[in-house]
Symmetry: C2
Subunit: 440 residues, 2 copies
């Protein structure tokens, strides 16, 4: 079909859900993939810790227990790394790059923490490191940002990029469950790991938004400065107050470019309930991009699982197969921008972030409290957009819920410290961020 019709020979590290999914998809759709690429994608070697895992899979290649055997296999053109971890995986990938192999990886933690080192090594060696599968599962979001929006100045990205958290928040909203109840159900259904920390504490989403920020803005990967808050401390009552105010609470990864730097943060966020993003439910992911020419665009799909992640791995393999014979300088750069043209735009500390806010303040049930709160906020030029206060006759203390207009987070933190010091305020103030997601 094409002038170079030799098969592309693939080695795989790790035969868990994603590794097996990749082999399954490559076998099942072999004919269709070859019709697209003009050559076969053939898995010739896999490393698997427990070879009995391959039972039932009609695996066509060599099997090794030692991952180095795959990395050192001169028959392997492209290495697929789906074993996870940031120690051995890093060494294996660097060695593969060093020997001139292209790499396809789903390892968001590794790239968020060691991406600059890995991309620099690949750049020097003239090989590709493709990572569509590392962000938002089946959604071709890396391609959309890096290529589809290549003509745009991207203003910001906001993504629901952790399916476990989104499932939990969906159930807290729909069923009125507590966080603990929803987490238990997610674990029962296999949407959450036995140790759910990486998902519900925001680390996984932070890995992903860190990578997306780099390709959107052309900045080095800087996970250490990503602000991360999870959903563990969310209360059912906040989900309900938010609904009453016209909002849904979602765990968002947000990356925003400003003239003076980049905001990079993961936290539970109130978003308008009539926005498309508020309708992304359960284990699904979605990323909203706001850019100068395209305006708002949104990308939605399955964020995890064997076959959906394999869909992204295979798309990367197809891209690699198409460009492996091309001059490296003509390929799409790893971080969307030429390696020598990355921007030094700094990541901003949270005190510099600008957002609207939701506050829940527990205060004594008596006259004059609201006036005290409003006075403090006004001193910091923070204005109140909406208020929910329920009559609870006889109760010693009542919750006061405030929606605040956009302000500088550092100013708000000072105001909150003053509010918490008021004698009438009986507990720590709960503070959530609010994003209108308006275009521009």
């Amino acid at each position: 079909m094409s002038t170079d019709s030799r098969p592309v020979r693939v080695g795989i590290l790790g035969m868990g859900t994603v590794g097996q999914g990749t082999v399954r998809v490559l076998l099942r759709n072999a004919e269709e993939i070859t019709r697209r690429v003009g050559r076969d994608l053939r898995v010739v070697h896999a490393a698997v810790r427990s070879p009995q895992r391959l039972q039932g899979l009609d695996f066509p290649g060599r099997v090794s227990v030692d991952p180095w055997a795959v990395v050192r296999d001169s028959e392997v053109d492209v290495l697929v790394e789906v074993m996870g971890g940031t120690g051995l995986a890093r060494e294996l990938i660097l060695a593969a790059i060093d020997s001139g192999k292209h790499v396809v990886t789903a390892n968001k933690a590794l790239l968020a923490e060691h991406g600059n080192e890995i991309f620099a090594a690949a750049q020097r060696r003239g090989v590709m490191v493709a990572f569509e599968a590392a962000v938002a599962g089946a959604i071709p979001i890396i391609k959309a940002i890096r290529e589809g929006l290549a003509g745009n100045r991207i203003h910001w990205l906001a993504g629901i990029i952790n399916g476990t958290s989104n499932y939990i928040l969906t159930q807290m909203f729909r069923e009125g469950w507590s966080f603990a109840e929803a987490l238990a159900k997610a674990q029962e259904l296999g949407y959450a790991e036995a140790d759910p920390a990486l998902d519900v504490d925001g680390g996984d989403a932070a890995h992903k938004i860190t990578l997306m920020a780099s390709i959107a803005f052309g900045i080095p990967v800087d996970f250490a400065h990503c602000h991360v808050e999870g959903i563990r401390s969310l209360q059912g009552e906040d989900v309900h107050y938010a609904a009453e105010l016209g909002y849904r609470i979602k765990l968002l990864g947000i990356a925003r470019r400003r003239d003076d730097g980049v905001e990079l943060r993961v936290h539970p966020t109130l978003i308008p309930q009539d926005h498309l993003l508020a309708h992304v439910e359960g284990p699904f992911n979605a990323v909203l991009a706001d850019s100068d020419a395209a305006g708002q665009s949104l990308y939605y799909g399955r964020g995890a699982g064997g076959d959906p992640t394999a869909s992204a791995v295979v798309a990367d393999l197809v891209d690699v197969a198409r460009t492996m014979t091309a001059d490296p300088s003509n390929r799409v750069p790893h971080l969307a921008f030429q390696a020598d043209a990355l921007s030094p735009l700094p990541l901003l500390p949270m005190a510099e972030v600008e957002s609207a806010y939701y506050l829940r303040i527990q205060a004594e049930n008596r006259a004059g409290v609201l006036a005290q709160l409003a006075t403090i906020l006004a001193e910091y030029q923070i204005s109140i957009e909406a208020l929910v206060q329920r009559e609870r006759p006889g109760a010693a203390s009542v919750p006061i819920v405030l929606l605040l207009h956009r302000c500088r987070e550092g100013d708000l933190e000072q105001a909150i410290a003053r509010i918490e010091a008021l004698p009438v305020v009986t507990a720590a103030v709960l503070r959530l961020r609010v994003e209108s997601l308006d275009e521009g």
Copy 2:
């Protein structure tokens, strides 16, 4: 930056909304685009019927009234065709291809009607014809289907791909307006042309779904066999009955692969009101793809306008700039599949289509009518899922609304002919298709 850092020289045919948007975006984001591509994209020559159109645009290149001057300009590497039409535009594009120029076009009508000829000429000459801007404006849907889902067997696509119609349907639903009222408002706001036929009669959506079907399934472009129905005859009462049954009415382009052929059709369609696609409102577009590995994925954004369409044109220019020095056999094929590996899968006639249906039957207001309808439907093995019938005491005739389970359209047409022949039925039966949009 890269080894070949000469500028890519662009010629443009047509300086209407999209042509001007393209120049504006290339100028405004020049620095950022060059940081991405490693070389400049420079507009060197534009053809414009009325040169006064360029007033206010800081246009950097030559200007000609004669489009052939741009096509014959040996300084032009890539031709952007945004003049529209299927006569002269075809000749200009074929001549540009013949002289070895790459082509970027937003011309869906031209490609839907003459795509096979144009792609074959480009294939022979080893040049690219890129058309992201021809489908769904700013949404990188061609790239998503052709590259992002390259590992998948795509089952079906369903798209809201005409913003004018979607705006009209949104307003009919929200405001209770008639089609004529909503159209008038769309024209006032500039969402609809003075002659709205191409939009509201479905032709524009048909051009787009025809192109998407080709790249999803690897079949030649076959606009002549696309079934097209618009929204002109929709009644407000159907919008409201649909809502009562839990559905929204949207103009969908649908392409579905079956073992025996491909369904390719555009028509108003009832879709479940809790599906994400039902929340795509106003002038926005969205395409839902269902495929074997990724499952369902959705792509949403602005479907028209100068800057959004320019976003897609520039993305194509970037792709062309990156691959113009590559071996043509390694590029992404025009129709996603290698030119010699297209499938002969036929487009199916509407009688063979399978769908669920909504019927509105106007019948005399008396006992026994429903039994007669049910008897006829049962003879064709068509079963009723839901029914709406309002008491209207004293009315001579009443509407009966039926939701029918999936059946073969040919069978339904026979049943409808029998129903219309019943003496108790007082008007032609209104028939709409219903899609559950379920995964798989």
